[in-house]
């Protein structure tokens, strides 16, 4: 995108019918570090890459618990994300207090989207520079939504946002049809592999990623470092075989991909018994 004379104000349309400030806000999301979400019928897994600025500092928090049944992963201006998380927590807790029952995710998503839209139609405001992946559980099952700075929201089976998210999306696109009936463990595994895809060859360690799970009978919580490292170690054995060879073959045809798909599944099944999921 190049600078032009219609991009100073969010309340200025371009002749082509675009609001450039909103589009620039979405650019900010693309610059943030990756966040990934996937869901099955009963669980939602949110994962993100947390790279600390330097070895001396701690990394930024990008996954927030909004309520027992809702969690959010953000990409972009984390400060904006924090403020929106506070708003979401407030809405959830007020609803719980008045109605003694959890706020349906779909409604929170719409409230959030309306809040974002306001910032695209006021000359004294700027759009939020953060994309939010909301995972939540309600009466109709598990849901994953993506909230845009533009005020749009979409529901997804799986999605990734932030820098190098395309690599994760490619992986997810190959596998998403199975997610609906995935087990919790498989879902976490797919999230880890998708996260690894965004790292472009860098080694996946629990110190640079965060995984969170929520599901039926399982309130939202972030997995601790040890558990994540154990999971990575378990899956890495499988992943090393699949990762480098699967990518170039993805275009070569489904037969090849299916073949690659079988190998991890077999050893995955064998490993599942061994991995201690003490969460």
């Amino acid at each position: 995108m190049f600078r032009n004379q219609y991009d100073t104000d969010v309340t200025t349309w371009s002749p082509a019918g675009r609001l450039f400030q909103v589009e620039y806000a979405m650019e900010a999301v693309k610059q943030g570090s990756a966040a990934i979400g996937l869901r099955s019928k009963t669980h939602v897994v949110l994962a993100c890459v947390n790279k600390a600025n330097s070895e001396l500092s701690s990394h930024q928090k990008k996954i927030f618990k909004v309520d027992d049944h809702i969690g959010v992963a953000i990409a972009g201006l984390t400060a904006d994300g924090r403020v929106l998380s506070r708003y979401m927590r407030s809405e959830c807790i007020n609803h719980s207090f008045t109605y003694e029952s959890p706020l349906p995710v779909g409604r929170l998503v719409v409230q959030l989207a309306n809040k974002a839209q306001v910032c695209t139609q006021r000359s004294w405001k700027r759009p939020f520079g953060v994309g939010l992946l909301l995972g939540g559980l309600d009466e109709s099952g598990a849901h994953l939504y993506y909230n845009c700075p533009s005020g749009n929201y979409f529901e997804y089976q799986a999605f990734a946002i932030g820098s190098r998210s395309q690599a994760a999306k490619t992986y997810l696109e190959r596998r998403f049809e199975n997610f609906k009936d995935s087990s919790r463990e498989d879902l976490i595994r797919d999230a880890l592999i998708a996260t690894r895809e965004t790292l472009q060859g860098e080694k996946l360690r629990s110190s640079i990623c965060t995984i969170s799970v929520l599901g039926v009978g399982e309130p939202f919580h972030i997995l601790d470092q040890e558990t994540v490292q154990q999971l990575i170690d378990t899956f890495e054995l499988v992943g090393e075989e699949e990762g480098p060879t699967a990518e170039p073959d993805a275009d070569a045809g489904e037969g090849v991909a299916a073949e690659q798909g079988d190998v991890p599944e077999q050893s995955g099944a064998a490993d599942q018994g061994a991995a201690p999921m003490d969460i």
Binding site: T98, Y99, E100, S101, P104, G106, R107, V110, D138, E139
Partner: protein
Amino acid sequence: MDSNQAKQHNLLGSEAASERTLYPYVTGSSVVAIKYKDGILMAADMGGSYGSTLRYKSVERVKPIGKHSILGASGEISDFQEILRSLDELILYDNMWDDGNSLGPKEVHSYLTRMMYNRRNKFNPLWNSLILGGVKNGQKYLGMVSMIGVNFEDNHVATGFGNHLARPILRDEWHENLSFEDGVKLLEKCMRVLLYRDRSAVNKLQIAKITEEGVTISQPYALKTFWGFAAFENPTVGAEGSW
């Protein structure tokens, strides 16, 4: 000098008289409700008393709320109408989301509790005892809220005199999985006792039923009563001059 005094009076606060509920005017009598096999049954008579006068005899004291609940009230009828209006607005906004989610009985009960308690804290209560019952996703729910915001859930609830006359009967004879006919019989037994013993009861009642399928509120009808006791014939026979 007079104007000085008036000014001092002003400094003390608002001139308006205190406006808060002091006592009810047109009141409804007891409401009794039970859980049964398919849902909830709720009975209330149709009387609106003006003090000790049985003034209004076609007051509907049980109303459906949304798709999943029914609300019965005793106490001040105008406050009940106000509550119905508030709930109507609540259900309207809930429907406007148009997203497949809907407020169930538990949510409505909680909302009512908040409303009643907040009014009580302002010393301006809605002078009602409310019974909220409903079914959602196969789950039956029956709860009560009083005018001071006390709320609880149970298998059978009653308001006012019903607590003293009907609940003991229910404690003995209520059981899980009552059929519809047995449930109605049980409620009629309670309402009959209330009719005999509660001065503010009238012999014209409605029974409301709510199940997963929906709400049905019966047409008004009267209970059969029996007054042919020997003691009622020639009651003054042992005490001439009395009445």
